[in-house]
């Protein structure tokens, strides 16, 4: 049976999602997406530019077959704006997915849980497959699942911070309790961190800055893809339990087995 990532009514083979901001050029962005094998690609509505094709982030993506666009609402400060942006994004791209992203503070870009929840309720009613970007809050994750979100996207650390899995212990609780896919988004710096997410049972990761800011984005995208795959395989293979003490391969008490009764 194929090990697919189920989001809404779709199943995807790749468990690596890519963001499209911060790239030095359209060409490097496209090369990175191709190298990553990603099937889901997020695009910021505010970077859509239908009037100037060489500034439009959306148009060039049509050159890649087999990808599904996920418009994001980055820039929205509240639920009302996010809902408007999501509706416009769907109108332009036709995608049923929306990455719900509401960060009122333009500096640290951390997500607003209250506005995100409100917007999620509305967007689910509007028929979207809602992928909300949230802090690593297990209660919020469950609440969003309960209102019908197709997945949750808790952050590893702040967007673009490269601080990796600073929220690890909370991510573990989210992954353990979730009934929808958990896509760890934001803050990852190294492929090993993506592998760690998959090993602990995360369903997918979304990477942008770590790839776009690398010296060779396409190569880094490939590295992340390999790490996600390796981490997923390790999870499927079943990691042996961790132990505080050494476990001898030949038990020290084996000699007792021979004692007659």
């Amino acid at each position: 049976m194929e090990d697919g990532l189920r989001l809404g009514d779709r199943v995807f083979r790749s468990r690596l999602l890519l963001g499209t901001g911060k790239f030095a050029s359209v060409e490097t962005m496209l090369a990175a997406i191709r190298a990553s094998g990603a099937e889901l690609v997020t695009v910021a509505l505010r970077r859509f530019n239908r009037e100037r094709p060489d500034d439009d982030i959306c148009g060039p993506l049509a050159a890649i077959e087999g990808i599904t666009l996920v418009p994001n609402t980055s820039g929205a400060m509240n639920a009302r704006e996010a809902v408007r942006a999501a509706l416009l994004g769907r109108e332009i791209t036709g995608s049923p997915f929306v990455k719900l992203e509401i960060h009122p503070n333009p500096h640290h870009l951390l997500p607003d849980p209250i506005e995100t929840y409100e917007a999620a309720v509305s967007l689910v009613k509007e028929g979207f497959f809602v992928l909300p970007y949230i802090s690593a809050d297990p209660v919020l994750a469950r609440r969003l699942e309960d209102v019908g979100c197709a997945a949750v996207m808790p952050l590893g650390s702040a967007i673009g911070s490269g601080q990796g899995l600073a929220t690890l212990s909370m991510l573990q609780v989210i992954v353990r309790d979730a009934g929808v896919p958990v896509i760890v988004d934001a803050g990852l710096r190294a492929p090993s961190e993506a592998a760690a997410v998959m090993e602990m049972g995360g369903d997918a990761v979304l990477v942008n800055s770590a790839i776009a800011a690398a010296e060779d984005p396409a190569l880094m995208a490939e590295a992340f893809a390999a790490a996600v795959k390796a981490g997923r395989q390790a999870r499927m293979a079943g990691l042996m339990p961790r132990s505080e003490t050494a476990v001898a391969t030949s038990p020290l008490t084996a000699f007792l087995a021979g004692e007659g009764s």
Partner: protein, 376 residues
């Protein structure tokens, strides 16, 4: 904001005396603040400019990617009631004055759109009955019907007026204090509404109260002792960020340029010093937009793009209008130094591995955010 908030005495001391070891620690600081900022302004840091630049570039990439956001200024009027010693639009200058008619604003907007511009900064002189709040608000509304991102660099307004600007579609307001030294400020602004230092100082806070998404701050480098001014600028920015948790702050780095009154900078700032100030801001406030205009030379702009600076103006005119041929002629506020076209400038950015970004906002987000911790 109180004068106490702007006290920088201890930091000034540090900025003058920091040693090499302190500089190295400050460059690599995990959680930098004004202490690190002061150290990075020091002569010792000036001797380590390459290390500062490397860190500034890495942080710019991390927060803004390999991109440069582009905008263009559009002067709505150059009538002005204020006598600012350094300004080409000062009331005592004999220059050609003009105020855009609505039709001219439309053709100027169309000309800018043809260049691909999506973010426009509307400017005026100081407040006049004939070029006051309503004039700016109507200009914003008119421009907002064409551009996704409209901001304004105009006279200090009341919070209610800022609310009106936001409702008309204004995203951000830029308002330089020019100098934070009250004595120098009084000397340089002899008369007119702008002579009120405190009213101007509190204007960015009123703008955020009024629902603008972000404010642009700056000092006009050359007017006053630069170390003192930029330390106070840093404190002002930090104070606004603490008070308005959802307000954005951007910093610009204008230097005094040749203008019709021939004012020469009393405190000239060299390119090296300017670069050091930019790097220090980037390292100590990694997530803040840093802006550089066409006041600077192509050589300097090319070098500092992406190395601290994350947003730049392009193809600028400092006359009223100036992009459309049909607009009546007027005198410029100051001479710019980078006359390249949009295409030439973008070609340079691309050659440096930087993607020019024209549209980084969408009109769909146009409405004020009225959240602030007003109790502080």
């Amino acid at each position: 904001m109180t004068p106490l908030d702007l006290d920088v005495f201890q930091w000034l001391n540090l900025a003058r005396r920091a040693g090499r070891d302190m500089v190295r620690q400050a460059v690599a600081a995990a959680d930098p603040g004004i202490r690190e900022f002061a150290i990075l302004l020091s002569p010792a840091a000036g001797a380590e400019l390459e290390a500062l630049a490397a860190r500034a570039q890495a942080l710019t990439r991390r927060h803004f990617g390999r991109t440069i956001a582009l905008y263009a200024p559009l002067y709505l009027s150059n009538y002005c009631p204020t006598k600012c010693t350094y300004c080409g639009f000062a009331s005592d200058r004999r220059i050609q004055r003009h105020k855009l008619t609505p039709a001219e604003l439309d053709s100027e907007s169309a000309a800018l759109k043809r260049l691909g511009i999506e973010e426009v900064l509307l400017l005026t002189g100081d407040r006049l009955v004939s070029a006051g709040y309503e004039f700016v608000r109507d200009g914003v509304a008119r421009a907002a019907s064409r551009f996704h991102n409209v901001s304004a660099e105009v006279f200090a307004m009341t919070a209610a007026e800022y609310e009106g600007l936001a409702a008309a579609g204004c995203t951000a307001v830029t308002l330089y204090q020019e100098t934070y030294d009250p004595a120098r400020y009084a000397l340089l602004h002899e008369s007119g509404p702008k002579a009120d230092y405190g009213w101007r100082l509190d204007a960015p806070a009123r703008a955020l109260e009024g629902g603008l998404r972000s404010v642009g701050l700056g000092v006009l480098l050359g007017l006053s002792e630069p170390l003192e001014d930029v330390l106070r600028l840093f404190r002002h920015a930090a104070w606004l960020r603490r008070r308005f948790w959802c307000g954005g702050v951007a910093i610009s780095f204008p230097r005094v340029r040749p203008q019709s009154g021939d004012y020469a900078a009393d405190f000239p700032v060299s390119e090296r010093q300017l670069a050091q100030i930019v790097f220090a801001f980037r390292i100590a406030m990694p997530d803040v937009t840093l802006v550089l205009s066409t006041r600077e030379s192509p050589r300097f702009r090319d070098g500092i793009a992406g190395v601290g600076i994350s947003k730049m103006s392009v193809a600028s005119r400092t006359t009223v209008g100036g992009y459309a041929e049909s607009t009546a002629p007027s005198s410029p506020q100051f001479e710019i130094d980078d006359h390249r076209t949009v295409d030439e400038f973008c070609a340079m950015l691309r050659a440096k591995g930087l993607q020019p970004v024209f549209k980084n906002w969408d009109a769909v987000y146009r409405q004020p955010c009225l959240t602030s911790s007003a109790s502080i």
